[in-house]
């Protein structure tokens, strides 16, 4: 081996050891664990083949959290992106109080999700939370937004959109600034309407940003669950539980590590599909230029 190769390996070693110890090794270990039973008391863990996966297919809670997670992603992602684009367009022009508006949009991003959850929990409090106070003033009855299965997931979605839209906005702002003004001049000569300009020029040119943001948003939709701990604990009746929260419950409340690992494999599969999707999308992204 050449001397430079040895240098390179030595420089990589510490980072690689840590990376592998806490990413690759546990990922493989998760897959192996999913084929074993959970050790209980004096009963050791044994190989059980596909038993855990069999249980998974028949587990109503699993299907429910998966569906919840799907809904959660399908609603929050387009909504966050639409709001983020609107925000970016609104503050990309000259206006009085522009820096205030930008600050207001972006501030939720720097707050810990756990703090955000507290703020919104208060906001939603039946009777005296702000939402109910306004509704009360207008003559509506009290509503326990996060206490009933029909509304709880949507109430959680609002929190997510609030937290994420401002973050996505900055990527759109950056992208908007790279769009050449000549496009807009040409459109003005053609007499194109504002909507046509957006649909035919701005939106297509923002496509790479949208793809980048979407991938991030999807990962977050499956990964960020801090607010569930504070606001609902997944309830009522698992109506606001997401896949990752269910993993936490199974692994650290019921201490069923084997089944927790099986659920984690599902999460890993979802993320891998995303990675493949991203790869194809990024390939296509080039054509937009």
């Amino acid at each position: 081996m050449k001397r430079t190769s040895i240098y390179a390996w030595l420089m990589l070693l510490p980072a690689m050891i840590l990376l592998m110890a806490f990413t690759h090794y546990p990922a493989l270990e998760t897959i192996i664990t999913s084929f074993h039973s959970t050790a209980r008391g004096r009963r050791p863990s044994v190989f059980v083949g596909l038993d855990n996966y069999d249980r998974l297919l028949g587990d109503d809670v699993f299907w429910q959290v998966l569906w919840n997670n799907f809904l959660y992603a399908v609603v929050t992602i387009p909504l966050s992106i639409a709001i983020a684009i609107s925000m970016a367009l609104l503050v990309n022009r000259k206006l009085r109080g522009r820096s205030f508006a930008r600050m207001a949009y972006f501030t939720p991003t720097v707050l810990p999700l756990i703090a955000v959850a507290n703020i919104w929990l208060f906001f939603y409090t039946p009777g005296f939370g702000l939402i109910d106070q306004i509704r009360g003033a207008l003559g509506f009855a009290e509503q326990n937004w996060i206490g009933q299965p029909e509304t709880v997931l949507y109430a959680m979605m609002a929190v997510t959109v609030w937290k994420e839209a401002g973050f996505f906005m900055i990527f759109y702002l950056a992208a908007l600034q790279t769009i050449s003004p000549s496009f807009y001049e040409a459109a003005a000569i053609e007499g194109a309407s504002r909507w046509a300009v957006f649909r035919r020029i701005t939106f297509p040119l923002l496509m790479p940003t949208t793809l980048f943001v979407s991938v991030n948003a999807v990962i977050n939709a499956f990964r960020l669950i801090d607010h569930i701990f504070v606001m609902t604990g997944g309830g009522p009746n698992n109506a606001s539980s997401l896949l990752f929260y269910y993993i936490y419950q199974v692994a650290f409340r019921e201490w069923d590590t084997a089944y927790g690992a099986t659920l984690t494999v599902v999460l890993l599969l979802i993320l891998s599909f995303l990675a493949i999707g991203q790869f194809f999308f990024l390939d296509r992204k080039v054509h937009y230029k």
Binding site: A8, W9, L12, P14, L19, T30, P108, F229, F252
Partner: protein, 272 residues
Amino acid sequence: MTKAPNIDGVLLTMAAWLLALLWILPLVYAGWTAFHPAAYEIHFDLFAPLTLENFSNAWGQAPFARYFLNTTILVTMIVSVQVVLATFAAYAFALYEFPGKNILFALVLVQLLVTPDILLVENYATMRRLGLVDTILAIGLPYMGSAFAIFLLRQTFMTIPKELNEAARIEGANVLTLLRRVYVPLAKPTYLAFGLVSVSAHWNDFLWPLIVTNSVETRPVTVGLSVFAATDSGVEWSVINAATLMTSAPLLIAFLLFQRQFVQNFMRAGIK
């Protein structure tokens, strides 16, 4: 832009303001209750007396000083180790040709998607085997080898002309000198961007610390806050809101002071 009629501009400005107000409202509302006596949390009164009592109550009812110390130690530890290790790794990826380079780099990229916090079942088992459960080191260790840092720095190092490297080599400079004199200074914006994103990510991190800690001596502020807010011993909302603001305050103040840098650096770290 097309020259819009004036009325149009006014409407758009109002839309921007309205959205801004709506967006800041939850925070302002929480802030308002935190600075007013508990009696006013139910009904809004513009002339309610201001007070800092909620903050002192929160500070006195839970060991927030200790939580802040824990978080500070944690974040400093994570970010400094991340940066040092990633600098060497990024340098190796950017400047050397060696067998296995592409495979190793692909392995690094895997972590951009599968982050250690997703694998908490197995990582917890590892920590138990290492005897590290309920230590600050256990919270930080999984994050210290950061693919994100390696990736960002590698991209930056690759834009630095190789001639600079060769010239310095001829002068007899070794790798450490090169890094200290050339690469690290030139990559300063990247370090800043990564540092900012990493500090706020780990300041705000909750789930993994929740699992791996169970005592006051190790808990970071996020977990401390959740423990405090969850005690159903009739803690008033105004006190909880004060605690919430308190735990977010360092980042919030830093953000308000250095808004432009924050936004730019979040963006730089995001666009790869």
